[in-house]
Amino acid sequence: MLVFILRRLLQALVVMLTVAFLAFMLFQYVGDPVSSLLGQDATQEQRDQLRRDLGLDQPFPVQFAAFVGNAVQGEFGISLRQGQRVSTLIASRLPATLELSVVAAVMALAIGIPLGVYAALRRGSFGSQVAMMVSLLGVSLPTFLIGILLILVFSVFLGWLPSFGRGDTVQVGSWDTGLLTLDGLQHLVLPALTLAVFQLALIMRLVRAEMLEVLRTDYIKFARARGLHDRAVHFGHALKNTLVPVITITGLQLGGLIAFAIVTETVFQWPGMGLLFIQAVQFADIPVMAAYLCLIALIFVVINLAVDLLYFAVDPRLRIEKSAAGH
């Protein structure tokens, strides 16, 4: 167990260093920071001076070490486009993206798992067939199209929900939340639903398939033979055993949520990190891109690690196998 965790941590460290290296290469070889800071008509002396001040005359490993040192402290320099510190920019955008992703994940789980169980238990019924059809659509429709369709129906035709921005937000400490105002919640519904649809459909199909598989096994038959209630069999025995793959996929998809938040944020003009990043890509704003790259990699590494650890918590078989292999 300990060896396993250590190995995973080491792997995570290697990934992070690789990503940091890529980000560093971006800084180093894409665009010239000196000319972008000084402008066209600086003298050669000014350039050399700035180069020394920025440490750009240092050897490569020293510069990389300095970069990693700064990155660990969250320091990525100044955005070329907005003229603000990247760390401040990202910190101001982070709450919006996190709220959106977490709400979407909760939505996907809270709707996807029950629907999947329903579709498995009432296989062939009208309701479950409709659910399967809709989920097929949910898997094949691209995120941005779902967003556009939702805006068209709920904002343009029906006029029920707002489709633009975050609405009113409340400052809680340094966290800018939209979850505490009615306006903020209304603004959250459509983007969160857009982001959730794909995951929802995926989770539902996965839970259904796993449930069908598990319901055929002997221990379920045995549980029924013991005269347990349907509810105990379905939720106590069957559902519990479907959760391992569901946790894996959901965990890995949490990263997907953050990635697709870029698309959702563009559709709804949601002021999160994704919108910041896409603007950075459009304008080749390297510091912001590098910072986003490192941050996203960190989030992914942490998620993957957490998923691995969760396995142990959920599936006792893994614990036994691993400890047996360890001795």
Partner: protein, 319 residues
């Protein structure tokens, strides 16, 4: 999967062996295609879309890029069946008076082009690296598979976006051809991993088979063994994967174009059309967005269904 001995020879075939066409008509794959309505419908839709895209300049009722034929007074016309619609503009027009149906055909052309090109490129990269990893093994294999693990833990859209972003930063004022290449490379680099993994797996199986040993013994060079002997035997699953990935690549391209970092604005793909139409959603001109969106979904869905069918037909065990 050889043709049964007793089958009557087709009229066009030579008496000894049935012709290619006859053998194809007799094959399991064709049989499963004939008996699967989903596959037939999907193939039909895909064929019509591909046909319209390929022959857009001849099929399309208007040329949306010919400024001389555009008339601003024809702008924002609804589809023909709505009041104010004109029969010449079957699916309506956009703000500059361009015919939506024609723009769709030209857009699908670009979408399909980028999608196919990037799948071909990722097949080449993925199969090449997979073969190498599986055949050589050892450290190279371990290294490549670690790279795959890392790539897989990031969603492909993010990888494509990053590569695209780097490409844009490297060539700030790229002309059209370069912008296309950057986009295709970005999409294909985000999609080669599945091929590499599949091919590596089957290569490791093939590597130890007798025919490879025999080739080694008679002194065939490793490169030649890989290319001429192992490669044809590991391509089956790759074809299935590639079919499904075409749909995926088209969607990725559309997403990137929708985000404004895809194809150059001078040659709009379906994603660009949706992006443009998005601005008119609130003034009620839904058709500028919805038709390109529907076309996109139609293409992606039919390609996906075809891929699913092909997977089942080629390897019934996976069903």
């Amino acid at each position: 999967m050889s043709a049964p001995e007793g089958s009557p020879p087709a009229p066009v075939a030579a008496p000894a062996t049935p012709g290619r066409l006859a053998r194809w008509l007799d094959s399991d794959v064709w049989y499963s295609f004939r008996t699967s309505p989903v596959a037939i419908v999907a193939a039909l839709i895909a064929f019509v879309c591909a046909f319209c895209a390929l022959f857009a300049p001849w099929v399309a009722p208007h040329n949306p890029f010919d400024l001389a034929t555009l008339n601003l007074s024809d702008g924002r016309l609804p589809p023909a069946w709505l009041p104010d619609g004109q029969i010449t503009y079957l699916l309506g027009t956009d703000d500059q008076g361009r015919d939506i149906l024609s723009a769709l055909m030209y857009g699908a052309r670009i979408s399909l082009l980028v999608g196919l090109a990037s799948v071909v490129l990722s097949v080449v990269v993925g199969v090449g690296l997979g073969l190498l990893a599986g055949f050589v093994g050892g450290r190279l294999d371990a290294f490549l598979m670690r790279v795959c693990d890392v790539m897989l833990s990031f969603p492909s859209i993010l990888v494509a976006l990053l590569i695209d972003g780097v490409g844009r930063a490297l060539f700030p004022d790229a002309h059209e051809a370069l912008a296309f290449s950057v986009l295709i490379i970005a999409i294909s680099l985000s999609g080669w991993v599945p091929y590499a993994r599949t091919v590596r797996g089957s290569t490791m199986v093939e590597r130890n088979k007798d025919y490879v040993q025999a080739a080694r013994v008679i002194g065939v060079s490793p490169g030649r063994i890989m290319a001429r002997h192992v490669l044809p035997n590991v391509m089956g699953p790759v074809l299935v994967l590639a079919t499904i990935q075409v749909g995926q690549a088209i969607l990725t391209e559309a997403t990137l174009s929708f985000l404004g970092v895809g194809v150059p604005a001078t040659s709009p793909s379906l994603g660009t059309l949706i992006r443009i139409g998005n601005e008119f959603l609130f003034s009620g001109e839904w058709w500028i967005t919805i038709f390109p969106g529907a076309m996109l979904v139609l293409i992606a869905l039919s390609v996906n269904l075809l891929g699913d069918w092909l997977r089942d037909a080629i390897n019934p065990r996976l069903r």
